[in-house]
């Protein structure tokens, strides 16, 4: 997969959503040891410590596979920002979030404590 630098999220139509547009969006967080964690974003902070809910873990390529083709359910996890290598988000969910915001601007944004 190419390391995409183009970012349709910077599309003027979709930009301006802030961090709130990512809440509940399915993420894939890759950590510095090569593992990937799939799950919806529940919360984050300035240090990019990420909370994923109902996450599954996948091992790096080359490691002996586990039973379910390498996927393993881990539940709710916190990934410290300093161990995050890469973050991928489900494009369709992002676009859907943005469209909802435009159609219903009075929908409350997620809490920022």
């Amino acid at each position: 997969m190419s390391t995409s630098t183009s970012n349709s999220l910077l599309d003027p139509e979709l930009d301006g959503g802030g961090i709130s547009q990512y809440i509940s969006v399915p993420f894939i967080v890759t950590t510095t040891d090569g593992r990937q964690f799939h799950g919806p974003l529940i919360g984050t902070d300035r240090e990019q410590n990420i909370i994923l809910g109902d996450a599954t873990e996948k091992l790096p390529i080359g490691f002996k596979s586990r039973r379910n083709e390498g996927f393993r359910y881990v539940g709710m996890i916190v990934v410290p920002g300093k161990y995050i290598l890469r973050i991928d988000a489900d494009r369709r969910a992002l676009q859907s979030n943005s469209l909802n915001r435009r159609r219903h601007p009075q929908i409350s944004t997620p809490d920022v404590l």
Binding site: S4, I23, R35, Q48, L59, M76, D88
Partner: protein, 800 residues
């Protein structure tokens, strides 16, 4: 494939990010160490954009889902922290992979088998499978390869490459034939046990953890196939033993090999019997008893082969937790020695065998008696045994699948109160039939719930009883309402009392009497289990002993009332028999009159035999209550002496530290401690002022209190001796529990003796009255072992 650099498994040190806490360092792109799995095409890289957006969050703030609360995060696992991240543990262990296909020496295989067995027993005593059986890498490999067909469950690297064993290479036979058969046997016994354990009487996580982390424990593989594999392995070992014996080489190595082979055979045979015994859980009791007896014999043969084993600890690892579907942090392996494992297996066998005795019941009341005794056992029976008792006894909500719960309720009421037999044979057309049915339906639920509660562990049992007591209180209200209705009075006629001054008679009221009796029994259990489970602080002992004594008094009065009614009923029956006989004679004598009691109109009296039986039982029950009351008095006096001597704080005194006064008062503590009984209508909790007044120690001396304590404890001991001499026929519903009842009475005697010793020790110290908080060098400990669970003994000694 992504070309981003990954740092490997080691977490980055804190120093690297110390400079700027908001600047998350990322390794440079373009240099790959570990290939990253590709992401799905519908995902887009937002690493930089996300970082930019995150910078807009103010320090200390959190952007989160609206419905997310911090309490949800308590269970969240922190990734890359070794204490929380099982996946990291797994990654770090990958370079120390254990080769399950490698050949192993006989002694090592023997050790692995013993360790696996110990792990299985650890699981039965509360360790999760991820901390016990699943830590074995052979188990992991077999389950990983298993695709539904037993031949796939081998130790090869993947399911298509089954390692072959050759008879010429003994070590390959030991691993891929013997150990493999044993491993499959362990998996099957865990599966059979687990299926049995999935019942409401066992608390997950408290008693045992049945989670398998989505692994299939070969549920659909027939028992016969597993046993066949074990039998093949046994036959192979027997042939090998014969061949080895024929060779005329006699050295230590040969002797050890033959010893190991014997060890394999015993363990494999034991495994077959265990599988069959667990599989026969629902079969005829005789079949299971026979299998369990066979296990006992094999355990004895096992002991002689333990010393040959050579440890192979690398065959077990907690890193497998990183390969399980588990949202828990890493947990340590639950170790158990082989000796303890044997003891646990014996407990399992003996407990299961004992439970099967319930099929020898004489009456339904014997089953109730058995459950009550079972609940009191120490140590508490293993979860499997408790499950087995309930599942064996209640099939499709009927006792042994035959007797509806209603029969058990009616039997219990009849045993206690001897009501008119017509009460439970009311015609459908009778006006109170419907109300009676409704009452009995509710009573069935409460009664069945009681059986279910008695299969729990002791702490949970007490907690559930605190909940059940409210149901029984509500049932009592229903029963009183029912029995006060005009239509029901014919079954509970007014009986003449001995006291001539009383114009009113006394009514039997069997239904409400039974409910009240059971309710009081539950209250007594709740109160005294608090001593057994060390729930009460020492300063609360006088309060709970006093309240226990009060409830025992209420129970005694209630039982005495039932006894009185039975006495009157028996007298009336006898008189009525005399009337019939006399009346026949008088008819012959033409006109001689005789006096008789009027039999209850419309209600048949109970039989003399049942009345006599119940009266004997009630007499025994009152003896037991008498012993408990005397012991309570003795303990109260002893505690009072210790309060006066300043060894124990007085419950009714204000807190020692005046600054804590606003947070608590003795009255509040009184109400809190008696909270389980606060919602009950009858008997009402006495007020705190009443308690204070009745337990005022101002006019008492330490010596006189100790004298009183000694006298009452001695009296309790004498009463226990008398109670112990009761004949079996005087003990109702005791057919299955004779031995354990006798054991309980002996432990009560030991409690009396132990308390006497403590009283003597305190007396010899010649303590003077002082306030609590003044320095004393006394140490008070509560001893439970060998004493009655409800009456642990206080030991007073001088601190060194």
């Amino acid at each position: 494939m992504s070309t981003l650099k990954a740092n490997g498994a080691s977490p980055m040190s804190n120093d690297e990010t110390a400079g700027d806490p908001t600047n998350v360092q990322r390794p440079e792109a373009g240099h790959s160490n570990i290939p990253i799995p590709p992401v799905a095409p519908n995902y887009v890289d937002i690493t930089d954009v996300f970082a930019k957006e995150a910078q807009k969050i103010r320090p200390g703030e959190l952007a989160m889902l609206e419905t997310f609360e911090l309490v949800n995060a308590i269970n969240a696992l922190e990734i890359m922290d070794l204490k929380m991240d099982t996946g990291l543990l797994d990654m770090l262990s990958r370079d120390k992979e254990f080769d399950t296909t490698a050949n192993r020496a006989a002694k090592q295989v023997l050790w692995v088998m013993d360790e696996l067995f110990a792990m299985e027993m650890s699981w039965h005593t509360g360790g999760a499978l991820s901390q016990t059986v699943f830590t074995c890498l052979y188990i992991e490999q077999a389950l990983k390869n298993f695709n539904g067909c037993i031949s796939s469950a081998h130790f090869g690297d993947d399911e298509s490459h089954e390692p072959m064993s050759s008879d010429a290479d003994l070590e390959s036979v030991f691993v891929h034939v013997v150990l493999r058969a044993f491993v499959l046997g362990i998996i099957k016994t865990c599966d059979l046990s687990r299926r049995r354990l999935q019942c409401n009487e066992i608390m997950e996580d408290e008693d045992i953890v049945t989670q398998t982390y989505s692994l299939d424990l070969m549920q659909f593989v027939p028992v016969s196939k597993i046993c066949s594999g074990l039998t093949d392995a046994i036959n192979k070992m027997k042939r090998l033993k014969t061949e080895s014996s024929r060779q005329h080489v006699h050295d230590q190595e040969k002797a050890d090999l033959l010893g190991c082979i014997d060890g394999f055979i015993v363990r494999l045979e034991l495994r077959i019997l265990m599988i069959k015994a667990l599989d026969a859980a629902d079969d005829a009791p005789e079949k299971q008893i026979e299998l369990l007896a066979g296990i006992g014999d094999l355990i004895r043969r096992l002991a002689s082969t333990i010393s040959l084993a050579e440890s192979l600890p690398v065959a077990f690892s907690i890193a497998i937790q990183g390969r399980l579907e588990c949202g828990m942090p890493p947990r340590p392996k639950v170790e158990m020695s082989f000796g303890d494992a044997i003891t646990t297996l014996e407990r399992l066998i003996n407990g299961t065998r004992d439970v099967l005795r319930i099929h020898d019941y004489g009456s339904l009341g014997d089953i109730t008696g058995y459950f009550e005794e079972f609940a009191m056992r120490r140590p508490t029976e293993l979860p499997y045994v408790r499950c087995q008792l309930f599942r064996r006894s209640f099939v499709h909500r009927k006792i042994f699948g035959k007797f509806p719960m209603r029969d058990a309720v009616i039997a219990d009421i009849t045993d206690l109160c001897c009501p008119s037999p017509a009460l439970f044979a009311i015609d459908e057309s009778h006006p109170c039939r419907q109300a009676l049915d409704l009452f009995l339906t509710r009573a069935e639920v409460c009664f069945e719930n009681l059986f279910s509660i008695m299969c729990h562990n002791r702490a949970r049992l007490r907690q559930r009883l605190c909940g059940a007591i409210m149901d029984w209180d509500s049932l009592q209200v229903d029963s009183e309402h029912l029995e006060s209705s005009v239509e029901m009075l014919e079954f509970s006629p007014l009986l003449p009392t001995v006291q001539k001054s009383s114009e009113e008679g006394i009514r039997a009221l069997p239904l409400s009497s039974w409910v009240y009796f059971r309710k009081l029994q539950i209250m007594i259990w709740i109160i005294f289990m608090g001593f057994e489970l060390d729930i009460y602080r020492l300063e609360e002992w006088p309060l709970m002993l006093w309240y226990g004594d009060y409830i025992l008094g209420v129970m005694d009065s209630h039982v005495a009332r039932i006894e009185t009614i039975l006495e009157i009923t028996a007298t009336m029956q006898q008189a009525s028999t005399t009337y019939s006989t006399t009346s026949r004679k008088s008819k012959k004598n033409n006109g001689a009159k005789s006096i008789s009691a009027t039999p209850a109109s419309g209600a048949l009296p109970p039989s003399q035999e049942s009345i006599m039986r119940t009266r004997m039982w009630l007499a025994g029950l009152r003896s037991q209550i008498g012993v408990y009351k005397e012991l309570c008095h003795g303990y109260m006096c002893f505690m009072a002496a210790m309060v006066l001597a300043g060894c124990v704080r007085s419950f009714t005194a204000s807190p020692v530290d005046p600054s804590r006064k606003k947070y608590t008062t003795p009255e509040l503590l009184y109400k809190l401690r008696l909270k389980p009984f606060s919602t009950i209508g009858v008997p009402e909790i006495p007020s705190f002022e009443t308690y204070q007044r009745l337990t005022d120690l101002r006019d008492w001396q330490i010596d006189s209190l100790l004298d009183n304590a000694q006298i009452t404890v001695n009296s309790a001991r004498n009463m226990t001796d008398v109670w112990s001499k009761l004949k079996p026929e005087q003990q109702i519903n005791a057919k299955l529990v004779q031995e354990s009842s006798a054991k309980m009475r002996r432990s009560l005697t030991r409690s009396c003796v132990g308390t006497n010793v403590a009283i003597s020790v305190l007396r010899q110290m010649k303590l003077q009255p002082r306030s609590f908080g003044e320095e004393n060098n006394l140490k008070i400990s509560v001893l439970h072992d060998n004493f009655h669970p409800f009456f642990p003994v206080l030991s007073v000694s001088t601190r060194k």
